[in-house]
Symmetry: C2
Subunit: 213 residues, 2 copies
């Protein structure tokens, strides 16, 4: 029995069917692939491509999309620094549950602040019962100019016109990762195709042993 | 683009690999089995037994335990009426994600207030692309006297001594479901065994078509 956060009298219940059993059933290892980057950098495109490629190999993955979660779990949060932190904390906690369930969880969020991403990494420690780490950070390293030229949602235009305040890259900072497992970037000024980007991630997962039990 | 809750400029991203594809991969249908009842009524025992029985049939299920989630996702919530509501809302939203991922999600929470459970039911509507409903409510209908006599965590004793305030069944109400898919109760004063209780739930899931695609 313990006091946890704001809750008292909380017990931990351990189910006899645990992560190992679920991983055996799925013949894969649960983990979190965390995609961070500017709006318009291609996070969703990469998430969809990885999801599709894993499915074609019979692997179960699930996308936690930052925007989609703001329709549900995080709909009581706004874009203040405090709420961004809570947003990312909740996504990290849910991603952890999905990894525990045995899924390859693909979290796709701008997640601009290093301290918030570090907090997620801290809550997803290297596991001591699988050889691979739980969190795979993917940095969509695309120049702001490119993202702004793409502007797929028209948000940069609104931000430049001052109609959106605190927009990442314009009047709110994006802090690039200091270390990440995978970096997606242009080569000779050319962006990799969605398939090539997905291939980079899936090859990593394969080499690190996530795609079989 | 929409304003959703406290968030503005939110898009919805639809992945090409959706629930149907995941259900096909798993050969089951995603849903939420929501177990409600007093502390000590046997919710966790039932959740573990259902989890185990489903696993033995090669089905992927995952338990969202109210107490366990207060170690993570919900650790910034206490037991005030407002925070209980937010607690259940978050669990409902996460359960919905797991059902969408194709899993049989077993949510095990006291969830004492009818309006909070109704809100979860409202957010998990009968789907229009699978024949079965998304939410299966299970009511652990055990008498307070029995739960208090069991008192597996010693909490009733603390509540009677006034050391825990707002304890469900003692000085905070439990509102039984008016309609639920499954009711677990004593027969001639005898509690069903864990296996018998799990059988009741798993048979229901089988009959309703959740255990194959």
């Amino acid at each position: 029995m313990a006091t946890v956060g704001n809750s008292t009298n909380i017990f931990w219940q351990e189910s006899p069917i645990g992560r190992l059993e679920r991983q055996k059933l799925l013949n894969q290892k649960g983990c979190v692939v965390w995609i961070t980057g500017l709006s318009g950098s291609g996070k969703s495109t990469l998430a969809f491509s990885v999801n599709k490629e894993l499915y074609s190999r019979g692997k179960l993955s699930y996308i936690l999309d930052g925007d989609n979660l703001r329709h549900g779990l995080n709909k009581n949060l706004c874009f203040s620094a405090e709420d961004r932190t809570e947003n990312i904390r909740r996504v990290g906690e849910v991603a952890k549950l999905f990894a525990d369930a045995g899924l390859i969880c693909i979290a796709s969020l701008i997640s601009p602040y290093r301290k918030d991403r570090d907090a997620c990494r801290a809550m997803l420690p290297d596991s001591n019962f699988i050889e691979a780490r739980l969190l795979v950070d993917v940095f969509m390293n695309m120049p702001l100019e490119l993202c702004e030229a793409r502007d797929p949602k028209g948000l940069y235009k609104l931000a430049r016109a001052g109609k959106i305040k605190g927009f990442t890259g314009i009047d709110d900072p994006y802090e690039p990762p200091l270390n990440c497992e995978i970096e997606i970037k242009q080569k000779d000024g050319v962006c990799p195709t969605p398939n090539a980007m997905a291939g980079q991630v899936v090859s990593y997962l394969e080499e690190e042993g996530y795609l079989h039990f």
